[in-house]
Each structure stands twice: as C-alpha cells, then as structure tokens.
C-alpha cells in the first residue's frame, strides 16, 4: 500500500490540520497539496449554511495546488508551500471578484494583487476563495454584508439559534473554526480580527501598525487598518504573520524594518517577564465566566514564571468615542472614491439626470445603512466649525491613549493581558436592530490597541456556561510581535484548549 494512502487512514480529514502540521507533512511527502486542497474544497461545498466563502475559486486553487506540488517535488519549501487558505473579501485579488461585501463594488475584478496576498502566493499558499465580512469592514457581527450574514459554527448547548461569528472578519473566523481552510487573512481596524477570533474559538493577531502593507487592501480607516492572520494555533499565527509582513514602498506607512523569524521566537520560556493587568478593563457587568477565565490566565502566566502586576490605562473609557470620530472621518474620505464612474455599481439614471444625480443615486443604492451612517458622521466631524471641536480634539485624546501604553511599557511591562470581548457570540439580529452604539461596545477591549498602533493577539481561553468559546487578549510592545507570540504560545500550552464546534451544517 502506498504510504500516502496508508497515512490518509489516520488523517481522514486533511482540512482539520493546522498550518504547521500540514506544512511538515507536505515536506515529508505524506500527502500532496492537491489532496489537502481538495479536502478543503469539499468542506467548503458542504458548508453553504455558514455562508463563510462568498466567491469560490476552486479552479484557481487546484492550479495553485498543482504548482505547489511541483515546487515540493523539487524540494523547494517556501514557508507556506501548498497550504490552502481563505482570503477576506477586502483584499484585492487579481482577476477574482473583490467587493468588500458591498453592492457598490458589484462585479469588480481587480487588475492587480494586494501586497499581502501576493506575498502569500509567492510563498506557495493556495487561495481557496474570498470570505464574507461586514461591508467595508464596518461592523462587529458580519450583519452589514451584502452577501448576507456569515454564521458561527458554534451553537449554544441549549438551543439552535444561529449566532454571529463576530466581525468584521466574520467569514474568515467561521471558515477557520469550521475547518473549511487551514487559516485565513483578516483585517483589524478596531478589533475585526481579535473579536471574531474570540467568538469562534480561534487565534487572531493584529500586528503593529506598519508591519503589513496596506497596499491593495480596500481602505476603511487608514491610520488604524492592519492586516493579520486568523489561525488554529499560535504557531500558525507566527508562520503566517511572517509571510504577510514586510516593507512595501507602495504603502507610505509601511515600516522599513526587518521581519524577525516569529516561529523561532516560540520558546515557551517567559520566566521573568512582566504582565500587566489593567484595572480599567474590569468593566461593570463583565460576565463571571469571562472574569474567571481572565483570572485563570493570570495564574497560568504566573505559573510559567511571569510576574503579574496591576496597571492603569486611565484613558481607556475614551477609546471607543475617539474611534467613532477618527474611523468615520477617515472612512468618509476613503469612500469618496466610489462614485459610479471608474468601477463598480452605477445607478440607472432618469431622463435629465446630471452628474450629481449619478453620484447621489449610485452611492444611495451602493452603500448599506451602516456605511452611509459612518460616511455622514465622518463628514460632519470634519466639516468647518466642528473640525477643531470634534476631529482634532479626538486626535489629542488618541495621543493620551497611546501615552497610557507608553507609560506602562516604560515601567517595565512586557505585555498586557485582558479579555478579548465583553461577551460570547450573540444571536444574529440581537444588536443590529438596536441603537448603533450598542454594537460598537463589542470592541471595548480591542479598540485601544488600534488607536495606539500596538500588536494584539486573541487566543481561545475556554468555553462559557453555554458552551461557547471565549478569548483572552494579549497586547504587546510595538514591533515585539515575536515576544507577544511567545507569551501567547506559553499561555496556549497551559490552557490546552481543544474544543471544536459540533458539526451541524
């Protein structure tokens, strides 16, 4: 019996592997990239109920898997050779539909490839298709998507109500948690990688601002947006983040510094490291199970030799309001380009309609309600008479939020441990029909990290009383993703989380 077939008896579902497991097995020629790619494509076909993949690129995937197999057969082993992944719909992918989950980009097929997806392609990763998300990454539940809701593979133990996978990278989170792909790309402007990772029991890291090129990623709020990987383990996050990182002259905010070997940083030794616990994150009404997992995380890090200290980040409570001035302001400028002239949707005009009617009708039809709301808020806070009072004032408070972090790092804190989200996955429709501010509160623990430009990672910490996953967040010093990943890796080993959703789809 050929070894490959013998092996496949033990690994019946190749799509369930992690990146590092599959990478090592591919290098040992225990199976081919085509086989693991086919396993993912079959899993995707069977998971239409999750609505995670919204543009399938099966033919392209098979072509790239074959090319990867050729490289592997020549013993060429770039870091992600032959590994099948999903790509968030926010990334421009050459010749493949890319519409940021918006009607306004209906039919758009970029003639170019984003820097990050090109880097992933160059190291041999196989793109399976494009993933659902909130429209223009504006949302925390994947409910603003023009493709409809992505669904969380997790359900409460007590009922079958469909739950949100979080957002905006909801499709990425759902796909990774349900083993439709080995890993996926996400983007994070206020928590859009870490919050969905937490709600679906996977790992997600947002690196330091400037670590990954934003070129070719459809812009939402340029001073906050960062790309990052969503994976099944911390080791996988290290492997994929390294592949996505690096200086790019096409992004003027991309940092011209070298990319360390993140995987090599995973030693599991954190003795002597100082972990800060911010008292402002002990918010009123925090669920007991989140609080106890947070405490457990502190004990585990202490057990691994770290020193736990109480810290204060006094401006934390102003982070969300600052975000809801700065992000819409930048969005209103970035989204001005969608005018129905050069790409995407154009409204049908009536006799006598002029160019302004074309703009107004196109944008009214093309943007969903949350996107319109944010464009208008952004324009309002930038308008003359309000610019100083709102926009500049918010930028000053942002400086203070960053200073809070700089101060605690200067006091010798290596990383900060917090809950990732204020609750577990919630019902679809539960928050989308209420006051928009209720939905914004989902990002209460994550948004400070974007405002300060820091790296942050969410890892699964356990299940709550309803058997839904909850995450813990670690926040690191700028450019210290290696150390951050190592602390997360150490905590991951102690937590030893092995839960998987029960397959219902």
């Amino acid at each position: 019996m050929p070894f490959r077939r013998w092996w496949s008896r033990f690994v019946a579902h190749l799509n369930e592997l992690t990146l590092s497991e599959a990478r090592d097995a591919l290098r040992k020629k225990q199976f081919t990239s085509l086989e693991i790619t086919m396993a993912c494509l079959e899993a995707i076909d069977a998971a239409a109920d999750l609505n995670a993949f919204v543009h399938n690129t099966a033919e392209l995937a098979v072509e790239r898997a074959r090319a990867a197999d050729k490289r592997l057969s020549r013993n060429e082993t770039p870091s992600m050779c032959g590994l099948p992944i999903g790509i968030k719909d926010l990334y421009c992918t050459q010749g493949v539909a890319t519409q940021a989950a918006s009607r306004i980009l209906q039919g758009f097929k970029p003639e170019y490839e984003s820097t990050v997806t090109k880097k992933l392609r160059d190291v041999g990763a196989v793109m399976l298709g494009k993933l659902n998300m909130d429209e223009f990454a504006m949302g925390s539940s994947n409910e603003t998507s023009c493709y409809g809701n992505a669904i969380n593979p997790w359900r409460r133990a007590t009922d079958d109500s469909p739950l949100t996978p979080g957002g905006s990278s909801g499709g990425s989170a759902s796909a990774v948690a349900a083993d439709l792909c080995l890993a996926a790309t996400g983007t994070d402007t206020g928590g859009s990688i870490r919050q969905p990772a937490s709600l679906t029991g996977i790992t997600g890291i947002k690196p330091t601002y400037g670590r990954c090129s934003r070129w070719g990623i459809i812009a939402f709020a340029s001073s906050l947006d960062q790309a990052g990987p969503m994976t099944k383990s911390v080791r996988d996050a290290a492997i994929m983040l390294e592949a996505m990182s690096g200086y790019d002259p096409k992004d003027s905010t991309s940092a011209n510094c070298s990319v360390p070997n993140f995987e090599a940083a995973l030693t599991g030794h954190i003795r002597g490291k100082t972990i800060g616990i911010p008292r402002e994150y002990k918010v009123e009404g925090l669920a007991d199970d989140i609080e106890s997992l947070w405490k457990q995380g502190q004990d585990m890090l202490k057990g691994a030799g770290a020193k736990i200290v109480d810290i204060s980040l006094p401006h934390t409570r102003y982070a969300l309001p600052v975000y809801y001035v700065i992000a819409p302001a930048e969005a209103s400028s970035n989204l001005a380009r969608y005018d129905g002239i050069r790409y995407g949707h154009r409204a049908r005009l009536s006799a006598g309609d002029g160019i302004v009617d074309l703009y107004e009708k196109t944008r009214a039809e093309g943007f969903g309600p949350e996107v319109k709301r944010r464009i208008m808020i952004g324009t309002y806070v930038l308008s003359s008479g309000f610019y100083e009072a709102h926009y500049n004032h918010a930028r000053k408070v942002r400086s203070l939020i960053q200073r809070d972090f700089t101060d605690v790092f200067a006091q010798g804190v290596d990383a900060i441990l917090t809950p990732a989200t204020p609750s577990a996955a919630f019902d679809l429709g539960e928050l989308s029909n209420t006051d928009p501010v209720e939905m914004y509160l989902n990002d209460i623990f994550t948004v400070t990290v974007n405002l300060a430009g820091l790296p942050g990672i969410s890892i699964p910490a356990g299940l709550n009383r309803q058997s839904l996953p909850l995450g813990l967040q670690l926040i690191g010093q700028p450019w210290e993703e290696g150390e951050l990943l190592n602390i997360a890796y150490t905590l991951e080993k102690s937590i030893d989380y092995r839960e998987k959703p029960t397959k219902w789809w």
């Binding site: 097929k109 309002y380 009072a389 942002r398």
Partner: protein, 95 residues
Amino acid sequence: MSIDVHIARNVAKLVRIRVEDEDLADLVSEFNAILGFIEQLSEVDVTDVEPMVSVTPMDMTLRDDAVIDGGQQQNVLSNAPDVREGFYAVPKVVE
C-alpha cells in the same frame, strides 16, 4: 450636541448620498445617538497635548521622480460601468 433635519439634509448633500425626506428623521435620531456617545470626549483635558498624526514616528520618503508604470489603458478601464472609445462615459457635465 445634536443635529436637526436641516443639518442632516446638508450632510447628505455633502457626501453625495441621496436621502429621501421621509428617511431624514431616522437619520437624525441615529446621528444624535452617536454624537451623544462622542460627547463624553469633551470632559478630557487636552491642554498641551498634540493631536496624533501617526502612531509611529515616520519620515515620509520620496520616490524618484520617474515614470515607473503606464500604458495600461485597457486594465484601467476594464472595470468601468460605461466606456466609450477608450474613455469613461458620464452624463453631460457642462451645458
């Protein structure tokens, strides 16, 4: 801090998004909920604080002033909803 229908209509005009009159009232109430949330920033003392420009101090670099790309008319126009004779087509702009 709150806005009225008049301001909402003006903002909709500035952003070039058509909002029907009957939808303006809902827009005003959502707007005011968000503005009310933002309002709490006014209690922060920002005396002598510089507004943030960039999270990491970064020097803007200049590229060489040279042509590095071009001759891609077809690629540029490939996604346009209406193209005529190699140009974007739009309704009449100047009478």
